[in-house]
Homo-oligomer: 574 residues x 2
């Protein structure tokens, strides 16, 4: 039924037909996620409310912004994308997040938490100024609702003086169980003590409808009908309670494990996240000053064991990346030794606090930055390809890039004694593949993974690029050609002494980051400063947003192309 | 009395003596700000509460974090810095903000809004884990209290399970009158409708004391005594109402004008901000899609007239830089043409939203970035020296730097038709000094301000650097030497065609920004990419945080030294 169903036909469905539709949506979502990976539990929970919205509203004239986008699969399936849905998260396929360039039904791209309310208000204001007739909806989970940006948006609702509907899908879980002040207010409302929480929402200019069972289609149809009436002359918060993973027993019982599901059969390398958790537990056993802060990602970052073993020193503050950063800076000011574990793309949210709180005060905070470089199937909003650039421009910050999980351990051990801000960035999958030539770790010192007297030196940061470099080396060695390979394990500061020895030689740089401001660009600038002429070639990502796809394919396509690099070096060494 | 007074002696003062002390503090603050510039009104309002805190608490064992720091002058005067206070905001003198390196009484540096509550919580947690006895206080104005980071901090108070005192100094004004949801809740509490607001605070784990008259010493002494008792086993919010500018009639009546006061006798150039306001009014008259968003800075940014003339298209959302950015992105998605005016240093807060909401969606948002480059007397936390770097690394974003106010007008006019994200950055003081050689503005095209057949070309971005370049040119022309001067009015994209013509020549770059990731670094990288050899020398700021001081002196000291540049060029041209 799904592939032939036109969005507007849902309005003619009976309740029975809609219930059948919900079952079908569940099946398709489940099967697709098992094939392609993706967000299962949150999408399963949003099925009934999404069907009810199609019944009630007129998309795409009416507009909806899904916060983060983890709940948009049913919406995509119902808005004319069922026939392509099997390409979910694949190169060139359907995105796991709303994408304007995919369908006129997607009016605003999301991927990071907390933007939906601001976005809905901005869209509603545009509608008002244009004198258009349309309903604007923000659909947001309770995890995102803790984010400071949402609070800023709510505070501006009266200032912008416009009407939106906020659907708060409350499943009591962000990725980890939701925590914090607003969550308790919502909980009180759920548990019947509604007065003060509702009053609070009224202060922000919101009329409250709820609590409704978001997995009961009939209740959803009624609730959206009421909301649609009310929102014609005011802003409305519709509070719905859903079961994350609704409809699949395993997912209902284990919502954290099924939040992001890798496709069945995907390889299970040893992850940097596992190493992180082990290292932090070891270090914490030796040093009682060590604390760990996470922003709603403790499982994905490998921190579960640490949180169990050291609950008094482990803090998951919810999706509050900025607060986590200032907490770390101030814990360091108070004499503690904080570690802040986070995904590369989400750390962008704390950019100002890294500058203003951590680095300007030269606080000994260690950032453990996972999912750095191309992250693959999540696409534009999740690529960790800017961090080398935005971190390296900040004074006082040391930026380390381990060549493998073994070196990551070494850097972690080093970090425990390091009295300044330190960022360690690494990709998702990890291996222990390299033999170290020297064992001592010194800030700003690189190491040769392969040293010869060739005119060519490849300087690469991180496992992915060093593996490419070593493979090219193997290939060319078979042709009797040879070159040096340097592990740039500190992208900041650079190894100036090593660079000086390369005067007049060929230098090739490689990194899993955009070119602008990254390793290669910094080396180019440093050589100018040193007054050294080298024949340099930089391989890094072009100045574009990188869409979803396979990691290796995207690397090649966007600027770190193994074949091109091999050919370039091979031609020099003729 | 002030210069001889030791902090601990305040505990022995009578109430009469403390009232005399308050008067003296006011006089010193007023006189000093008239001499040195600084924040007058907010500091005058905080006098009584500060004296009462010294009476009640034991600084520096007890610790206080001033949010932003605009209220710390009395605290500085009472903590052993009265003898040096006449150096306020001068090079090497007392900072206008809390500074750990200035006194053991300053435990945490601030400057940007909303960090104090997180910082207090982190310090308190460190205290707990260390088993120390001390009270931790966050002192925050109602303007900052709207910032999303504060909300994130409040949400984490129960998670970190620690006790702090939050002093909410409510003068009903941030820089512009405070607006938004939380402000209305506070207002209701002030006006007697306390139940729901207080309940809300309790949900966050805060016990509420208030409302107290923050300019009444006796009431403050009682309130802090009560707060100190309570905070031994819980977190407390003490809500005090003060009059911003208290004690100086002119300041009380005109708190916005006296928020930041320039020293008496400082030159009054025509400001970019004035030009911004005029241009936006002109453009808005022609184009009904134009909207303007500000984050609590409309007067300082020159937007007062626009807000009066076009209230339906002008939005001051309070100190919510992230929300402002997403509002702009979504307004653009809805077909409007939004302008976001902000200081360079504060835009750092919206870094992720610039990437994720504005640029990844290629939205036609124009950022008008004031106080770019070295801002001078406000010091480390307010220098706008990172923007060329953190903006240039973002795909789809064009970065323009006008050479003077006249060119700024031209770029503003250009922006109205430009269908992509655009950042325009400019310093505070502005002039119209240059003759343009061409009149058309094309993205990525520079212009020669002086063209000759010299081997040397100076490429500079922005008025300050171009003025230096032209002065050096005048000096060297007297010696019969000559060089080219290029106005790099687009820092991104670079003028690749022009760069190609400089192959083999001497190139000198100058910018009012850090080197890493800035104009010079981008040119270095571009020349590598083009395979062009030039003899390059980059003048930009070193990789350090730049303290307070005079703009010209700091420019010279941190890497853009006129004399050094002149000597370098002069030696080439021998």
């Amino acid at each position: 039924m799904l592939e032939k169903l036109k969005p507007e036909q849902i309005k003619n469905c009976t309740k029975n037909e809609m219930n059948v539709l919900c079952d079908e949506l569940r099946t398709v979502i489940y099967n697709t996620v098992m094939q392609c990976g993706g967000h299962l539990a949150s999408n399963l929970g949003a099925v009934e409310s999404t069907v009810a919205m199609f019944y009630t509203f007129d998309f795409p004239n009416d507009k909806i912004v899904f916060d983060v986008g983890h709940q948009c699969y049913a919406y995509k399936l119902l808005s004319g994308r069922a026939d392509r849905f099997s390409s979910l998260r694949q190169a060139g396929g359907i995105s796991g997040f709303p994408k304007r360039n995919e369908s006129e039904y997607d009016c605003y791209d999301t991927g990071h938490a907390g933007t939906s309310v601001s976005a809905a208000i901005g869209l509603a204001k545009a509608r008002d100024l244009h004198g258009e007739q349309r309903n604007i909806i923000a659909y947001i989970g309770d995890g995102s609702f803790n984010n400071g940006l949402v609070y800023e948006a709510l505070s501006s609702l009266k200032i912008l003086n416009t009407n939106v509907l906020i659907v708060l899908n409350d499943n009591g879980m962000s990725i980890s169980p939701t925590v914090g002040g607003m969550y308790e207010i919502l909980n009180e409302i759920k548990n019947g003590d509604k007065a003060s929480g509702i009053k609070l929402l009224e202060n922000f200019g919101l009329t409250y409808i709820g609590v409704k069972n978001g997995n009961d289609l009939e209740e959803m149809l009624e609730a959206f009908s009421e909301a649609k009436d009310l929102m014609q002359n005011r802003s409305v918060l519709l509070h719905i309670v859903t079961k994350k993973g609704k409809g699949y027993e395993f997912s209902e019982e284990h919502p954290t494990n099924t939040h992001g599901v890798p496709p069945v059969g995907s390889p299970k390398d040893k992850e940097y996240s596992e190493v992180l958790g082990e290292c932090l537990c070891e270090l914490a056993a030796e040093n009682s000053e060590i604390t760990v802060v996470s922003a709603a990602m403790k499982e994905a970052l490998g921190l579960s064991e640490f949180f169990e073993k050291y609950p008094e020193r482990a803090f998951d503050v919810g999706i509050c990346e900025e607060n986590a950063s200032v907490l770390c800076a101030s814990m360091a000011a108070g004499g503690l030794k904080p570690y802040y574990a986070i995904y590369s793309t989400f750390l962008q949210r704390a950019f100002d606090e890294i500058i203003h709180d951590v680095c300007a005060q030269d606080m000994a905070v260690t950032f453990c930055i996972d999912r750095a470089g191309i992250s693959g199937a999540d696409g534009e909003t999740h690529q960790g390809v800017f961090d080398l650039s935005y971190l390296s421009l900040i004074p006082n910050l040391t930026v380390a890039v381990p060549k493998d999980t073994e070196e990551f351990k070494k850097i972690m051990r080093f970090s425990a004694e390091y009295p300044h801000p330190l960022a360690i960035r690494y990709p998702r999958a990890g291996r222990t593949v390299f033999q170290s030539e020297d064992n001592e770790l010194t800030v700003g010192k690189w190491e040769y993974l392969h040293k010869t007297n060739s005119e060519v030196t490849v300087i690469a940061a991180g496992e992915r690029c060093l593996i490419i470099a070593m493979k090219i080396l193997q290939n060319l060695q078979k042709q009797g050609k040879d070159f040096n390979v340097v592990n740039a394990r500190f992208v900041k500061p650079l190894d100036t002494e090593l660079l000086k020895t390369l005067a007049g030689k060929y230098v090739v740089t490689m990194e899993d980051n955009v070119f602008l401001g990254g390793l290669g660009a910094q080396i180019d600038g440093e050589l100018v400063k040193l007054g050294i002429d080298c024949k340099i070639k930089n391989f890094a990502y072009r100045d574009e947003f990188i869409p979803q796809g396979g990691v290796a394919a995207l690397q090649s396509e966007y600027g770190v192309n193994c074949k091109e690099i091999e050919e370039y070096i091979s031609e020099i060494l003729v």
